[in-house]
């Protein structure tokens, strides 16, 4: 299984490469977790994410390897954004390819659950539209 993990400050709208023949993958799943316009009931314009990068990457890799023991997949790619992520943009993209869909769905769902328990990444704070504008004009 191929695992690619990346933390980045840049926009992560791109998705998994188009399926290529020959890899034996019958199921490709892409998940994007997008920042929503409200956080705890308040209207927001962005979230700021913080990561303990080396540990976050190791932990994601460890979780995926562990889950792959039960749900064999061919390819897993995770990109998590850090820093300011405006509403409507993806904070995380996960792409999974497997022979059959059941493995891909199970690995993806399991990974997202474990991510939210164990991977040292935090929503540091929510920014209002004014705060976001101020940051951009600095």
């Amino acid at each position: 299984m191929e695992i690619k993990i990346q933390l980045t400050n840049a926009s992560i709208c791109e998705r998994l490469p188009a399926p290529t023949s020959g890899v034996g993958a019958g199921a490709w799943v892409d998940f994007r977790g997008v920042v929503r316009g409200e956080e705890n009931g308040a209207v927001i314009a962005a979230l700021e994410y913080e990561a303990y990068s080396p540990m976050a990457e190791m932990e994601m890799r460890r979780i995926i390897a562990e889950l792959a023991g039960d749900h064999h997949c061919l390819f897993v790619r995770v990109i998590h954004r850090v820093g300011i992520v405006p509403v409507g943009e993806a904070a995380i993209c996960v792409g999974v390819a497997a022979r059959h869909r059941a493995e891909a769905f199970a690995l993806l769902a399991g990974f997202m659950n474990r991510l939210k328990q164990d991977v040292p990444i935090w929503k540091r704070r929510a920014l209002t539209a004014t705060e976001l504008t101020e940051l951009k004009t600095k």
């Binding site: 913080e50 990561a51 976050a56 164990d118 935090w122």
Partner: protein, 78 residues
């Protein structure tokens, strides 16, 4: 040893990391020193996990001068 603080722990300590001089420590000893330096840490102790060199460790962990220790408050990625 180098001790790293993340997320709201930085608000409590006022810094992203500190150096804890002096020899080996177990988890309890580490917390004692941290609370001495930053009394506000006491209230978050129950919810914070410890990591040593980028891996979670349990209550029985030991830390030496060369270790990088991270205090991991509840995570919220994704």
């Amino acid at each position: 040893m180098r001790v790293l603080f993340f997320a709201h722990l930085k608000d409590i300590t006022g810094c992203a990391e500190m150096n804890l001089p002096g020899g080996d420590l177990d988890a309890d000893g580490l917390w004692q020193k941290l609370i001495e330096a930053h009394p506000g840490m006491e209230q978050v102790r129950a919810s914070v996990r410890l990591a040593k060199n980028s891996e979670y460790v349990g209550r029985d962990a030991c830390f030496t001068d060369v270790d990088e220790v991270a205090l991991i408050p509840p995570v919220s990625g994704g």
